[in-house]
């Protein structure tokens, strides 16, 4: 097994061969075939060989279910086209068709989600992982099979089926396009969680070679490699060393480790997103953005609109909204409102779906109690932020401050970063009491000694590494600021050739020289790669 990952030498070779073949293909159909072959090769080489059958079977189920639901609604459309119906009659007719569609939807969802839930729940109760069906049966199903990227393709598949059921999109007739979407190699391991209707539309019109698109895409991928290899993998050693021996450390050193842990996750995850979105852009497929300068967020809710955007948007569309607009919730909130408690009604309307969303978000990230706690933490934080929004406004008015002015705005960003760091503390040690242990260590001493005697540089990150990290973070900070004001790659492309080539070459060489990769160092896999 090659064990190919996005940061491996073998992946770069794979990509070079695939891109060359793909971009040389003269027709859409040939590009589709090359891309599908590439997807399968990648999935096999990335370690999914033995479980590829589950992914293919899931694709078959999704295709069959989507086509069946599509046919049901085609029947509805032809019936409404044939008859002239009043809106109420049309609505009644749709309800009857929807019942038939539901008869297809529910079993397909049970199967597709069932594989995911079985895997997650099985791991939670300690079932061992296996990669072949005979040992699964041999263990009396007291083992789990977890195909590579299951969380990502399952969510996308569920979203696609629900969109068809809700008639937001139409079922794709070409199975090749669905298979391409479900196996698409840039998104299979870490997302972003794709909307298959949008992907399939693009796969149906795969464009040929475009100089600008290919170069822009590769530039973004290089920036992703910079974030992952130069920053994330360099930073990661520090929190690992401090948290690995947490009882020996205190105060500032632990605070620095907590901050490093938070920044590491951002650089790791957003770096990977830049790599995959960039590669996809070079192939002519635009993926949804997953990050939008999250550390510039001024509240917890805003943070989650800018961090792992596709996950948040998926939960909003397929969990939050269905609960919030369900008959049960509408009746309950309406009853509360009628009793005169308007604020309680709107609180309930927001809080109930939110807490469900956040418990599920926690479980999606990990099956341990720490992740459940993490989900509840974010849920409660956002609910409180929403519930007390009027009081915050009143307080700001009382203090005669504008919350969005530079200084208060900056302080709110710092507060959000603290929220995030605390969230990371909950899962940092891999136990339910993680945050408490870390907090206790923070307040058990100053930890200043390590900074004075220089031993802070002995936790896997020496002084030269710190200098590289500081310079790298500064570059990323500047890029984040510029991103809010301009399209950086277009701006660079307009510069004089020597200047822009100098920028590109400097970027690539920074990764080549300062990247943490190769033998002697076991590059940690992307943090978001195991879901």
């Amino acid at each position: 097994m090659i064990g190919m990952s996005y940061i491996s030498f073998s992946f770069l070779l794979f990509l070079a061969v695939l891109m060359t073949l793909y971009l040389l293909m003269p027709s859409v159909r040939l590009r589709q075939i090359i891309l599908l072959a590439g997807n399968l090769v990648f999935y096999i080489c990335a370690g999914g060989r033995s479980l590829l059958a589950i992914l293919i079977a899931t694709t078959f189920i999704v295709y069959a279910a989507s086509r069946l639901m599509g046919r049901v609604y085609e029947g509805f459309e032809s019936e409404t086209a044939a008859k002239e119906l009043k809106p109420k009659e049309k609505s009644q007719l749709l309800a009857s068709y929807r019942k038939r569609a539901k008869a297809v939807l529910i079993p397909s969802l049970v199967i597709v989600l069932g594989i995911l839930v079985y895997g997650k729940a099985g791991k939670l109760i300690g079932f061992p992982e296996t990669s072949d069906f005979s040992s699964l049966a041999g263990a009396g199903f007291r083992a789990v099979m977890v195909p590579l990227g299951i969380s990502y393709y399952t969510f996308s598949a569920v979203g696609y089926l629900l969109d068809i059921y809700w008639r937001k999109t139409k079922a794709e007739k070409n199975p090749l396009l669905l298979l391409l979407s479900m196996t698409y190699f840039p998104v299979i391991i870490q997302g972003p969680i794709s909307r298959y209707d949008r992907l399939m539309k693009q796969f149906g019109e795969l464009p040929g070679f475009s100089y600008e698109r290919v170069t822009f895409g590769l530039q973004r991928a290089v920036f992703g490699f910079f974030k992952k290899l130069v920053l994330a993998d360099r930073i990661s050693a520090f929190p690992a060393a401090v948290f690995g021996n947490i009882q020996e450390h205190s105060g500032l050193l632990v605070v620095l480790a907590v901050c490093a842990n938070a920044v590491h996750l951002y650089m790791d995850f957003s770096g990977c997103m830049d790599i995959v979105i960039g590669i996809s852009e070079a192939l002519g497929v635009t993926l949804d953005e997953n990050f939008s300068q999250p550390f510039f967020s001024k509240s917890a809710a805003e943070f989650w609109r800018r961090w792992h955007i596709t996950l948040g948007s998926w939960f909003k569309d397929y969990v939050y909204m269905p609960i919030a607009t369900s008959k049960f919730m509408m009746n309950r909130t309406s009853a509360i409102r009628k009793s005169g408690k308007k604020r309680l009604a709107s609180f309930t309307a927001a809080a109930v779906p939110l807490i469900v969303v956040w418990i599920l978000t926690g479980l999606w990230h990990g099956t341990g109690a720490d992740y459940l706690l993490w989900g509840v933490y974010w849920g409660v934080l956002i609910i409180l932020e929403t519930a007390f929004a009027p009081e915050w406004k009143k307080l700001a008015a009382y203090l005669h401050t504008e919350p969005d002015r530079p200084l208060p705005g900056f302080l709110r960003m710092v507060r959000t970063f603290v929220y995030f760091c605390f969230g990371r503390m909950i899962t940092a040690l891999g136990c339910a009491g993680s945050a408490l242990i870390i907090l206790r260590r923070i307040f058990s001493g100053s930890g200043a000694r390590e900074f004075i005697d220089g031993s802070v540089f002995t936790y896997g990150v020496d002084a030269k590494d710190f200098a590289v990290i500081a310079a790298g973070l500064f570059i990323c900070f500047l890029v984040s600021i510029w991103q809010t004001k301009m399209h950086i790659r277009e701006r660079i492309a307009k510069m004089a050739l020597p200047v822009r080539w100098a920028v590109y070459l400097a970027g690539i060489m920074a990764v080549v020289i300062f990247g943490v990769y190769g033998p002697g160092y076991s590059a940690s896999s992307f943090v978001y790669g195991a879901f």
Binding site: K464, W501, L505, I513, G518, P519, G520
Partner: protein
């Protein structure tokens, strides 16, 4: 309408030029970032224009033990020491294959030290990497990588802990062939030498100046040998076949050092293999060419300058008598060797004049054709180690009694009588070492 859009030549040329520039930068970075230990010894060999008659291969014992420039001075033989640290026989075989791409030696001398090893390379793989770093990517290098890294013994060595997981991680064909993958993190330790490497001027040999008395072992009978199936001996046979095919004379040696039981068995087995293959074998373990009391550099028993010169001289005579090699001294085509030898002599004199350790100083004088005057406290001179080193000096010495606790040594060139060095050592009999060395300026030297 209907006209096809023409692709501007710049659209094709620019990416090509960009990729070319990137390649240049990556190659430059690789050159700067790579460890220089290997290339500084190998690159001069690759650039050697006059031609090499003899190639020495083996381990650090050979690096320390054979001086090509002494061989040149005494016999006019051109040679190069391509041995490398902890080089197992398989590694030496592939170094030989690489070397043939640059030189056509008439004789290859392989030392059989480490031929008993089951692994094809050192358990510290970076040492093998260093030996190959300078060679550019070629079919030979790819074949070397594939062979050396396809090691049946590795799993067993990993299991027994003789090879660490970290070492196993460095055993990759990719980084063996593109060493930037391994060395890129050296940006932290770059020095001026990485940008302007100081290449070796001693034809691959190491000038080891310490004097150590290593542990000695009982000699075991010649009949005690290793069994069959050891990779190292198979590679000796492979090398023998290859040399026969290329018309090269192969000589097997086992350089002198106080060898333990396993190493003596290794030499005995090499003798059997040599006999079977019809290769001459010079087993220095069973000769009295060197004196372990004066000729060892460290407790690991590598030879120092004195030992190396004795071994080189012995080997030189053997090569001159048995291999039909021409004496190139005075041949204008080999003028660079005369220049290199002069530089070597200057290096030796510099090393002598900078030395502040009496033991080392006496050892360095051992094989030099100097006129030497010594004024010494007889008590110091009769100390066991000093006495052995004094006896080891082959030149004539004018000896007189000196101040208590001191040894004054004046060294002159035999031809013009000019002073090379005039130094007075203060020696502590209690600590058995020199505690001070005072050099006399030219005017104050002996008349």
């Amino acid at each position: 309408m209907g006209r096809k859009a023409r692709i501007k030549p710049g659209r094709i040329l620019r990416p090509l030029i960009f990729c070319g520039l990137l390649c240049v930068l990556v190659i430059l970075a690789a050159r700067i970032l790579e460890r220089k230990d290997g290339p500084v010894r190998t690159v001069p060999f690759m650039k050697e224009k006059a031609g090499i008659d003899v190639l020495f291969l083996g381990t650090s014992h050979v690096m320390d033990g054979i001086y090509p420039l002494e061989l040149w001075d005494e016999y006019g033989i051109t040679s190069y020491n391509l041995a490398s640290i902890q080089s197992n026989t398989a590694e030496s075989y592939w170094i030989y294959k690489e070397a043939l791409r640059y030189q056509k030696p008439k004789v290859v001398v392989l030392d059989a030290s480490r031929s008993r090893m089951r692994l094809k390379t050192s358990s510290d793989f970076v040492k093998a990497q260093l030996a190959f770093d300078a060679y550019p990517l070629s079919e030979t290098k790819i074949a070397a990588a594939r062979d050396l890294l396809d090691d049946e013994s590795l799993p067993l060595m990993l299991e027994s802990g003789k090879v660490t997981e970290a070492d196993a991680d460095t055993r990759r064909i990719s980084s063996f062939l593109f060493n930037l993958l391994l060395y890129h993190s050296r940006w932290k330790e770059l020095t001026l030498n990485d940008f302007l490497p100081k290449y070796d001027t001693l034809k691959g040999s190491l000038y080891a100046m310490n004097v150590a008395v290593p542990k000695k072992y009982e000699q075991i009978p010649e009949s005690r040998v290793y069994g069959t199936g050891i990779a190292g001996y198979e590679y000796i046979r492979k090398l023998a076949a290859d040399c026969r095919e290329n018309g090269i004379t192969l000589i097997l040696t086992y350089l002198p050092f106080p060898a333990n039981e396993a190493q003596q068995k290794e030499a005995n087995t090499a003798a059997l293999v040599a006999e079977e293959e019809g290769i001459p074998f010079i087993n220095f373990l069973r000769m009295d060419v060197v004196n372990y009391d004066t000729d060892c550099h460290d407790r690991m028993s590598h030879l120092n300058v004195s030992g190396a010169k004795k071994v080189t001289s012995y080997l030189g005579k053997y090569l001159a008598d048995n291999c039909g090699l021409s004496d190139h001294r005075g041949d204008p085509a080999y003028g660079s060797w005369e220049t290199d030898y002069e530089a070597y002599r200057a290096y030796e004199e510099e090393a002598l004049c900078a030395n502040t350790n009496l033991h080392q100083y006496l050892m360095l004088l051992s094989a030099e054709p100097y006129d030497i005057r010594i004024e010494a406290d007889p008590a110091v001179l009769s100390e066991r180690r000093i006495s052995a080193l004094y006896d080891n000096i082959s030149s004539g010495i004018e000896l007189s009694e000196g101040d208590p606790g001191t040894v004054r040594i004046e060294v002159r060139r035999p031809g013009d009588g000019s002073v090379v060095d005039d130094v007075t050592f203060t020696y502590s009999m209690e600590e058995h070492k020199s505690i001070e060395a005072v050099r006399t300026k030219g005017d104050d030297a002996h008349d």
